[in-house]
């Protein structure tokens, strides 16, 4: 286990290094002079010269990169040109909002996805199975920003049950916070629920046809016990790792959901920064998201080994 852990940790170093090069390299794609883009309306040659010096644009790429990565390693992701605040402070402000949304989305999708997946496998080739498969296909194929818009229309505009947009922290007003986040969390979790339904169904079908389930049935155990205790426990092992990995994907889905529901989270921060050409923020947010994703990947691998007794040795 320790060797496995050490090996996985060592593998992180080159991956993180390349991620940082890619993210920093994006700036090089910028058509024309980055100083001109940063200066906005300003065309004074002296100002442009100062920007070039300040951001080391007059230095070669690798020098610029080394300064940037040096800053990152000491916890300095640069400063937002638009908001005049350190990028790290902005991320620290916005991250909890997205995290709340992502966690709620995971709870919703686990509940719907696993329940429906098990039902579909147990009732194989019945109308329930077909219905679950259809819902799963619908979930995978529906763009979440469209689903968001339609749900706002139904629940906020038409029925008036929930607010159309905005965000309230759960520490400020728990009930209101749930009201503002339930729709976006559902929208965010929708496609994950669909993926889970499909995975749970196929894992359960495999487990139900295995020898240990046949033995459990032969022992005369009740079908409920066979399904819930014997088949489900084994089928759900890979789902745990899928859940951890999906948290990273949800961060990316949050970009659109937060935009639709005007939620001031991570996703909205990156979109606003893109439009204001606030490159330091774009780079910082992308780097943090990728690092989170890589770490979640690692945690998922470790969890998988810990849960699966066959891999523990």
């Amino acid at each position: 286990m320790l060797v496995f852990l050490a090996k996985r940790l060592l593998q992180l170093i080159p991956t993180l290094f390349i991620v940082s090069v890619i993210i920093f390299g994006l700036q090089q794609l910028l058509p024309g002079d980055p100083a001109l883009a940063m200066a906005g309306e300003e065309r004074d040659p002296q100002v442009l010269e100062q920007i070039r010096r300040q951001y080391r644009l007059d230095q070669p790429f690798y020098i610029q990169y080394l300064y940037w990565v040096g800053g990152v390693l000491s916890g300095n992701l640069g400063e937002s040109m638009r908001l005049k605040e350190p990028v790290l402070t902005l991320i620290a402000q916005k991250f909890p909002v997205t995290l709340q949304l992502a966690l709620m989305a995971i709870v919703i999708s686990l509940t719907i996805g696993i329940t429906a997946g098990i039902m579909s496998a147990v009732k194989r080739d019945t109308p329930i199975d077909y219905a679950v498969n259809l819902v799963a296909l619908w979930g995978i194929s529906t763009p979440n920003f469209w689903l968001g818009i339609m749900l706002i229309f139904l629940f906020a505009v038409h029925l008036g049950w929930l607010p159309a947009s905005g965000y309230v922290s759960p520490f400020q007003d728990f009930w209101l916070s749930m009201q503002t986040t339930i729709l976006p969390a559902f929208v965010l979790g929708n496609s994950f629920a669909a993926v889970l339904m499909r995975h749970t169904r196929s894992a359960m079908l495999q487990a139900m046809s295995s020898d240990y389930v046949r033995t459990a049935r032969a022992k005369g155990l009740a079908e409920r016990v066979v399904v819930l205790k014997h088949a489900m426990r084994n089928a759900l092992t890979p789902i745990v790792t899928l859940g951890a990995l999906e948290l990273g994907t949800l961060l990316s889905g949050a970009v659109l959901t937060e935009q639709v529901f005007s939620i001031p989270g991570f996703g909205k921060l990156i979109v606003d920064s893109v439009f204001n050409r606030d490159y330091a923020v774009v780079q910082g947010v992308t780097l943090i998201t990728a690092t989170t994703y890589i770490l979640l990947n690692l945690l998922a691998d470790i969890a998988y080994v810990l849960i699966n007794p066959r891999l523990r040795s």
């Binding site: 080159p14 991956t15 993180l16 390349i18 991620v19 890619i22 993210i23 994006l26 700036q27 794609l29 910028l30 058509p31 296909l137 619908w138 995978i140 194929s141 529906t142 763009p143 920003f145 469209w146 818009i149 339609m150 706002i152 229309f153 505009v157 990273g248 994907t249 961060l251 990316s252 889905g253 970009v255 659109l256 935009q259 639709v260 990156i270 979109v271 893109v274 439009f275 490159y279 774009v282 947010v285 992308t286 998201t289 990728a290 994703y293 890589i294 990947n297």
Partner: protein
């Protein structure tokens, strides 16, 4: 009996492509997907002939009109005919789906072949770069790339294509690893074929089924990605119609013109659904285990 023998003999002589077609056409859902995709392609190609109005023509006397006999899908905030805009929008979506995945295939397959067949160092370097790119969530990388390249449909397609490339690198590499130990590859090597010839003539045709399945499913992802980028304002630029940007505008008029949001969303859903079920069908039809 004789007829059965003849049928078996005929099936044995069936080419792999014909067999795949036959198996694909047996699946109702896949046929539905294929039919809808064919219809969407026809709509996109024949858009000027089908659309009753110019998709960019504004009419101040027909602002935000609900669906009617004259305007089947209603009109938008500038009085443009939504039916015509949805029809022309198919062009941007399908183009983005096909072009971006062609970019991803064009880059990903050769790089994947190189990783799988080019020695340990090559494999290690390409593997690490692929891991790194896959570590950045798809949409965030596409947004960052599109933002740095500048907002346009062309740049959105490049951004989505580059973002999807590592998926094909990894798939190709994995397939090459599995195929390169097969007897026919060993035989080709034993008779002195150069590595490049083996990769292109012997390995590539055998990994094609997996690539076709992945490409079909990736087109669905690329269509959603293009719609997402256009929704954010990073794809197709107004006034040219795109389903994603139409939804962006529709959001502002949800209270008094909800129909503006219904049609472009349904169109994206239908296109993505069709590619997804065609991909599922192809996976089953091309699976050698089911022969």
């Amino acid at each position: 009996m004789a007829v059965a023998h003849a049928q078996v003999a005929e099936l044995n002589h069936e080419s792999p492509t014909a067999r795949a077609w036959r198996r694909l056409l047996r699946r109702k859902s896949a046929v539905f997907g294929l039919a809808v995709i064919t219809l969407l392609v026809l709509i996109a190609v024949l858009a000027p002939l089908i659309a009753p109005f110019d998709p960019t023509q504004q009419s101040w006397t027909a602002i935000r009109k609900p669906p009617s006999l004259q305007h089947w899908f209603g009109t938008d905030e500038s009085g443009r005919d939504l039916f015509s805009r949805v029809i022309f929008g198919a062009r941007a979506s399908l183009l983005a789906g096909v072009v971006s995945i062609s970019i991803a295939l064009g880059l990903g397959v050769p790089i994947g072949l190189l990783a799988g067949y080019g020695g340990r160092w090559m494999d290690a370097v390409i593997g690490r770069i692929t891991d790194a790119m896959l570590a950045i969530p798809f949409l965030i990388l596409a947004i960052a790339l599109a933002a740095f390249l500048g907002p346009s449909l062309q740049n959105a397609m490049i951004a989505i294509g580059l973002t999807a490339t590592p998926i094909f690198v990894r798939l190709t590499r994995g397939q090459v690893m599995a195929v390169k130990v097969e007897d026919y590859v060993e035989a080709a090597r034993a008779v002195g074929n150069p590595a490049r010839r083996i990769a292109i003539k012997h390995i590539l045709p055998n990994i094609l089924p997996a690539l076709i399945v992945q490409a079909t499913i990736s087109i669905a992802t690329a269509i959603i990605a293009e719609a997402s980028l256009s929704f954010l304002g990073l794809g197709q630029q107004p006034p040219a119609p795109s389903w994603g940007s139409m939804l962006n505008t529709a959001q502002r008029f949800l209270t008094n013109a909800p129909w503006m949001a219904v049609w472009p969303g349904l169109a994206i859903f239908l296109a993505v659904l069709s590619f997804n079920i065609l991909g599922d069908g192809l996976r089953d039809a091309l699976d050698p285990k089911e022969r």
